[in-house]
Each structure stands twice: as structure tokens, then as C-alpha cells.
């Protein structure tokens, strides 16, 4: 077997000869002798996991994933399956991007740093705020980080985080975990026909409220009409105004900076990722005032030894590896590669493409709501509001039963409560929407 590769990990390149030479150089006679593990805690069992060839491992995953039904997903509520141009996959999969680490040696990481700098810049344009970090995990964790930011910048004067009563339950739950270690408490404000009830918020806002959170669009797809009023109220009461949105909606809807938002959070992976079972990219942007309290990584421009522009991670004294328990966040590994994909997707669309996409999301949601509303036993949209991407319909009969029947016809929609469906047009083709209307009319008959 001289010169042959040692069996075991297929990615360990050692030949038997090399292994022997290396052991000899170290001065031991076996790999076992290198492990300094007391006998009582040594593991001598097995995991029962078979080794497979690459082909067999691939087939295994294929065979498992084939058990997923192939459905047209008219699903949204914060996570969207837009078509992703091939360019995004091919460029982001270039192995230098894919297989690099966090840019701790910026001189050999200029390319990735520039891509992240460009990502930050796109979010600055979309939000109108001066600072965007280069990612949190997803919208829910970004909301949690916004709350801890509010705690830091408003910590002495209050403890209430005010959120909409209609909010994605997982996002609410994640926020609860983030504030569990603080003195913050989460309270809700009322909604009026699918939008924030500005009057009741005005009554509630006082010095005890450190953060006011609103979404545009809301989880039910409605466009908030009263954001400027909320921004004014937040300013008057010295409350951090946090707005949830995403890059597609931001291409069309009111600019957060113009309505007084102090922080924008959301899921930026609406661009760049497939539905991916909810994998995300947390957007986090804020005003320059809070720069030194921002969580997460920041890429900044600087100069190199030849006075040429160069990029580097900066303001790292906020981060856990420097500041330890006084860091602004514990985040280390983030979603950098997803941010790269999002940036490429946004660049591929360009400003025209982004505005067109968002505009189509509004018009197609409206058209589909009208078509669905025309069916007997269906009323849509439930809320007398403008919508983007998705809307809620009320149905006669069991919503979950109808949703199940729709699956048999090849379509997935959300069932909400007893008698509401939420339907999303993002990512669906016109043919698929036609097919859905036909299927729904059959199912409710």
C-alpha cells in the first residue's frame, strides 16, 4: 500500500508514506498517541453512520428531498420566493467568495470587502439612513438587536418595547428571547383595519417606551399609511422608531428616513435566496448618531500603504472578539455570503428593475384580490388598505380545509385562524396565478 492514500476522510490528502513520515517527525508511533484524552472519557463506540461515495451521499439527499411535494407556493408573511437570475448563483458560487473566512486580513480580502461595502451602500440608498451593517441572521434577530440597541441608547428612561398586535408570532417570540436578559418588556399596540392605530399609539407613548416598532408592509401585506405620524410621535417622546421592511418594498414605498425611522430592520434575503425553508439575511440600518452602538460587522473605506482606496472591517471595538461582555452584540458568524448574493441580485435588477418588481407586486396583488373576491364565498382583501405582494381573504368554510384541498391541486397558501387565507403573488408567474384562481374556485364550490 506504499504511497496509497489512507482510508478515512476523503478530504484528508495523506498517503500512508506521508502519514508515517509525519508521525516520525513528531516522534510518535501512531495517531492515537497524539490524543491526550483520559481513558474514562475516551469514546470507543460508533455513531452508526455509514460512509458513502460522493455519488451515494448525493443520491441519499436527493431521495430524501424528493419526498417534498412540488407545490406552487403563494406563501409570504416575511419570506418570499422571487425568481433569482442565474448570474447570482454563478457569481456567488465562485469558490473564493464561498470558501473565504471573515475578512480579518483585509489585504487579501479586498474583493469580498468591496462587495459588502457595496451591499451596505445599497441599503443606505434604500433606507435613507447613513449606516447599514453587513448583516444579521434574519429579520427576527435583527428586531431583537434593535431592541437591545434601544436599551443601550435609551436605557435610563424606560423599559417598554411597543410592537404591533398583528405580528409574526415567531418574530415576536425571538424578540422575547433577545430581551429576556434585559429589563425590557414587550407590549403591543392596537391595529385598525390592518394598519397601526395611530391614535392609540399616541395615547400610549410616554417616557417609559424606549422603542416603537412598525412594519411596512405589515405581515398581512398592507401598506402603512401613517408612518410619518408615528415618526413624529416617536420624536416627541424620544422613542427609538424602528421600521421593518425589505429591499423590494423599500424600492417603492416611503423612504424610512423621510418618515423619521431611527432604525430599519427586515429580511434582505427577499433578494438573493430561494425560499430555503426560511433561511434569511437580517437587514440592519440606522442613523449615524448610533454608529458606535450598532451591532454586527461594518466595512469601511480606508487607504493602503500606497494611498490607494482599500476596504477593511472597522469599528471592531464594538464587537465581541474585542469588547467581550461589553460588546454591542454577540454576533460573530453572520450572513455575509447571503449579503453578497443580495447585492448581486439587486445590481442585476438595477433601479428600474427593482421599482418595476415592487410596482408589479402591488398591481398583481390588487388584481388577484379582485379575481378572488369575485368568487362566491370569498371576500378579498379583508383590509381596506393598499397592499404589496400579499393580502388576506376571508372564506366561507374552514380555511385550513380549503388550504389542504388547494395542496391537492398543487398550490400552497397560508391558512390564518378559522376562516382566513393569506395569498402572496411574489415569485409566481401569471400562469400560476391563473391556475390558482381556477383551483380555488373548484375547492370552494
Amino acid at each position: 500500500m506504499d504511497g496509497s492514500r489512507t482510508t478515512g476522510s476523503p478530504y484528508a490528502p495523506h498517503t500512508d508514506t506521508e502519514t508515517a513520515a509525519m508521525l516520525d517527525a513528531v516522534g510518535v508511533d501512531s495517531e492515537e498517541a497524539l490524543f491526550d484524552i483520559p481513558e474514562p472519557v475516551q469514546f470507543d463506540g460508533d455513531f452508526g453512520i455509514d460512509a458513502r461515495s460522493e455519488r451515494e451521499a448525493r443520491q441519499l439527499v436527493e431521495s430524501i428531498l424528493e419526498r417534498n411535494d412540488d407545490l406552487v407556493e403563494l406563501l409570504g408573511r416575511g419570506h418570499y420566493g422571487y425568481y433569482i437570475p442565474s448570474l447570482v448563483d454563478h457569481l456567488s458560487d465562485r469558490s473564493e467568495f464561498l470558501t473565504s473566512y471573515t475578512q480579518y486580513q483585509p489585504e487579501v480580502s479586498q474583493g469580498f470587502l468591496q462587495a459588502l461595502f457595496e451591499y451596505q451602500s445599497m441599503l443606505v440608498e434604500l433606507t435613507g439612513l447613513e449606516v447599514a451593517n453587513c448583516s444579521m441572521y434574519d429579520a427576527a434577530t435583527a428586531l431583537g438587536e434593535a431592541a437591545t440597541l434601544a436599551d443601550r441608547v435609551r436605557g435610563v428612561s424606560g423599559s417598554v418595547v411597543l410592537v404591533p398586535e398583528i405580528l409574526d408570532e415567531n418574530k415576536r417570540s425571538t424578540l422575547g428571547n433577545y430581551v429576556a436578559g434585559t429589563d425590557l418588556v414587550v407590549e403591543t399596540y392596537a391595529m385598525d383595519d390592518g394598519a397601526a392605530d395611530v391614535d392609540s399609539i399616541a395615547d400610549r407613548l410616554d417616557e417609559d417606551v424606549v422603542m416603537l416598532y412598525a412594519e411596512n408592509p405589515t405581515v398581512r401585506g398592507t401598506i402603512e399609511p401613517g408612518l410619518s405620524a408615528l415618526g413624529d410621535l416617536a420624536t416627541e417622546s424620544d422613542t427609538l422608531f424602528v421600521l421593518g421592511s425589505d429591499p423590494v418594498a423599500l424600492s417603492l414605498l416611503e423612504r424610512p428616513a423621510d418618515v423619521g425611522a431611527d432604525v430599519v430592520i427586515g429580511d434582505a434575503s427577499v433578494l438573493g435566496l430561494p425560499t430555503a425553508y426560511g433561511m434569511g439575511l437580517g437587514l440592519f440600518a440606522t442613523r449615524e448618531d448610533y454608529l458606535r452602538q450598532v451591532p454586527g460587522r461594518l466595512v469601511g473605506a480606508s487607504e493602503d500603504g500606497d494611498d490607494r482606496r482599500a476596504y477593511t472591517l472597522t469599528l471592531q471595538t464594538r464587537e465581541q472578539h474585542i469588547r467581550r461582555e461589553r460588546a454591542t452584540s454577540n454576533i460573530c458568524t453572520n450572513q455575509a455570503w447571503v449579503a453578497l448574493r443580495t447585492a448581486i441580485h439587486a445590481a442585476t435588477l438595477g433601479p428600474d428593475g427593482l421599482v418595476d418588481l415592487a410596482t408589479r407586486d402591488v398591481t398583481r396583488a390588487r388584481e388577484l384580490a379582485d379575481r378572488v373576491d369575485a368568487l362566491p364565498g370569498v371576500t378579498a382583501p379583508v383590509h381596506d388598505r393598499h397592499h404589496v405582494r400579499e393580502f388576506v381573504a376571508s372564506v366561507d368554510g374552514s380555511a385550513s380545509g380549503i388550504a389542504t384541498d388547494l395542496e391537492d391541486h398543487g398550490y400552497a397558501v397560508h391558512a390564518l385562524g378559522a376562516d382566513e387565507l393569506q395569498i402572496c403573488v411574489a415569485g409566481a408567474t401569471d400562469d400560476e396565478l391563473d391556475g390558482f384562481v381556477d383551483a380555488l374556485s373548484e375547492v370552494i364550490r
Binding site: G8, Y11, M22, G27, L34, V41, I49, R52, A57, R58, L65, N68, L75, R77, H79, L87, L91, D93, E96, F97, L98, T99, S100, Y101, V108, Q110, G111, F112, Q114, E118, E125, D138, T141, N170, T174, G181, T182, P225, E254, T275, A276, G278, L298, S302, R308, T314, Q316, R324, N330, I331, C332, T333, A336, W337, V338, A347, D352, V362, T404, E407
Partner: protein, 505 residues
Amino acid sequence: MSDDGSAEIRHDQARWSTNGTYEPLLSEKDSTKVTVDADAAGLPDDLTRDSLELPGLSESELSRHYTRLSQQTYGITSGPYPLGSCTMKYNPPFTEDVAALPGAAVHPDRSEASIQGTLELLFRLQGYLARIGGMDAVTLQPPAGAAGEFVGIRVAAAYHEHNGEGHRDEVIVPESAHGTNFATAALGGYDVVSLPSDEHGRVDLDALEAALSESTAALMLTNPNTLGLFERDIEEIAAMVHDVGGLLYYDGANLNALLGRARPGDMGFDVMHYNVHKTFATPHGGGGPGAGPVGVVSELAPFLPAPRVRDADEPTDAGVETTEADAPDPTADSTGAAYELFDPEHTIGHVHGFQGNWLVLVKTFAYIARLGDEGLADASAKAVLNANYLGSQIDYEIPYEPFHHEFVASAGEQDAADVAKRMLDYGVHPPTTKWPEIVSQALMTEPTEVESKSTLDQLAAAFDAVAEEDDATIEAAPSRTTAKRIDQTSAARTPRLSWQALDDE
């Protein structure tokens, strides 16, 4: 090495530029301002923005831009990347292909009945990880290692609270621990008690005794520690922590040293996270995404995040899947058992909007299925062999041993950061520098199992070449990279974080 003993491989990194300066930003190639027409969307003017200004480039222009940026980025496919504690392995591309399968792209709100494949893969990965870690139950939801730490701390807090022990307000962390441990404990609302090392670089048992009390919620520990040393007293440490009612938390960052050799669960750890992007080689992607599944002993399982996956035919009410440890061979029966989501009895709720970084989990599953028992154990054996071989070949002193998968050398009179910059010129990524602080001018080095003897020799040659160079040479480095030494101070003093900020100058 060449005959004169110098490192013969050098690296000249791509440097794309316009007018001899730099690859222009997208915004410098094009800036297109479009007016937003509210009427087109049928919206009132006051609900829309006025305009949007972003680059509007063609596909071919973008293709060149991002290709150039990739060429100005050093990845594990560019060369060795022995970044201590970060476990930079080669990433087999087939895992990218399986993660790109159409069946992997499902919406998180799909009905359980319609995504049995996704649930089955998650269930089987829970089982794989439980067995590898010696744990009873696993959640796959945390989207990174630090997120896993946070789940571990939240679960510990919920467990103590449930038992009427909510007064425990301290978490003990060794001084040499990853910074995330401290930050996570603080985020969880705990006071952090810092634990010094003994003269051998391990946990000082007397100091631990002094730190432990009825206020102790948990001790966070990694084993081997950040010096690569196995904490030989782990059984006694576990007993001491448990005696005061605390929990023992395992930071999985160094699990690559132990696969198939030892398991955190067998050492007395109650809760652990797995950095699947390190131990199981899913790409780091320039800083993420990773995934940080958390394993726990059965007593803690009812507190894990919701939802988890279980075999619908054998659901258990305690939240522990006894079936995880002996999941049926997935190739045996394609119809299989039905899988379902469930909320553990005393769950802390969600820690991510959906179910974490699913695509990373698919890659992890494929990687583990590829290696199997034998491959996993060999990965650790070769990782430890490689670290020891490289350590034996370099001129820098290594103060603490016997080390496993990584070692911390000292640059001695040289500045470790300068040494690192100079190593870039020799075509290798340098070690982690100046950490842990236990070692003066630390060069924390982890070659992993994927490097060949000849590559390790190249690395050693780079170490040794720099060791002999004078201060002026290394202070002037790097010279063969896209950028020369970058001014970190001015970047922080005058933050310019967007192309808009550059325009304002």
C-alpha cells in the same frame, strides 16, 4: 523549500484597477436615478418614495465586476488557511449541488405533510449530531455558533427558573475563551465571572472552586481549549460545577479535534453547540452563514426552542426523541415514517424567525453522510497529526503542549500582526494573531486535516522565512496582495461606510 532554505512559493494576488488605482465601485461604473411613479402602482403619492438611485449595469459588466472581486479574495481554494479556532477546511462542492436541489427550496410555512423530505433530513441530522456529541436531543434552529451559545444560555436560564433557581445570576468563562462566550452570557443577562488559567494553560481548579457558588448558572468551556490542550480534569470540573447546581456548557468550536475520540456528553457537559460550518465543512462564505445546532441532555430537552422535528409514530411527551439515537437507515424505506413538528413542553420559543440556516444544514447532512464513522474519526486524527507535524517543523516557540488540532506559537520579539502580514506574501493565509492573550505575540495555528504534508512544509517554510526576517521587512509587508498594509486607525477615526459617504468628501 528551495535550496537556500527560503520559502519558494509566493503569491501575487489579482489587483484589478482603473487608472492604476482600484476596481471601481458599482456606483462609480454607473449611477442611474429613476423617478418612482406612484400612479403606475395605483398608489397615492404620499405612500411612495420620490426616486431611487442605484447602479444600472448590464449582466456582462456585473459578471466582470464580481469575477474581479472574487479574484481579489483569498479563500480555502486559493491556498492554506490555518486560522486558529476557525477550522477552515476544504469544502467539497458536491454539498453546494445538493443544497441547490429544487426540493430544498421550500417555504417555511409549508404544511408538514407537504415537506416530509425536509423534516426527515432535519430529523436525521438531529440524530447524527446527537450521536456525535453524546447528547440526548438537538435543535437545529440557531443560525450560527454564537446563536447556539445564546440558545444554550437561554435554555439554562429557563431550566434554572423552572426549578426555582432563578437567583443564579453568574456564568463563569475562562479568560482564554472565545469572545462570543462573554458576549453571549451578558446578552443572556448574566454577570460574567472570568476564570484564569493555570500554569499549564488549563482550567485552574482552585480558581474554579473559588468562582463556583450558588449563584453559578453555568460554566462555559471548550475542550480542547483555545491553546489546543485537552482539559484532562474535565470529570472533576463537571463534578464541581454540578455540585453547586450549575450546568456545564460546551463551546463546540474545537469539536474537530474530538470526532469519534471523545464526546462532550460523556465528559459531563449538559449543553453544547456544534459549529457545523467548522466541524463539518460547510463553506464560511466570507463570514457566514453558518449554523449552530444545540445538543442537550434529556433534563434540558423540554426547554429547547420550538419547533423541533420528531417521528410522528413515536412521539414522546418529554420532548426527547429516544428515536434520535437509532434512526432507521434512510436508504431502507423511501415511504418511511411520517415526521412532524412539535413544541417542547417548556420551550423558550423561537430564536430565529423560521428554522435557521436550512441550506447550511443540508450541506452538513451531506458531508456527514459522505464521511461516516470512519471518515469523521479520521478527520480528527489527521487534523491532530497535521497540527503536531506543523508545530514540529517551525522555528517559533510553542509554549503549551501537548496540543491537539491547533497550537499557539509565540512570535517572540517580533510583532505577531507583522508576521501575519508578511506570511501573506508567501502565498498562505496567516494564523490568528495575538489571541489567546495567554501567549505573548500569539500565532494561533490550525491547519485542519485537509492539508497535505507538502502544503504543511510550505506553511512551515513561510513561518521560518519570516522568523529570520528583520523588522523592516515584515513591517513593510504585505507587498504582493491586492492592497498594501491598510490604515485601520483612519478607517475607525473617520468612518466611511458607504459609497454615499465617499461622495460626500
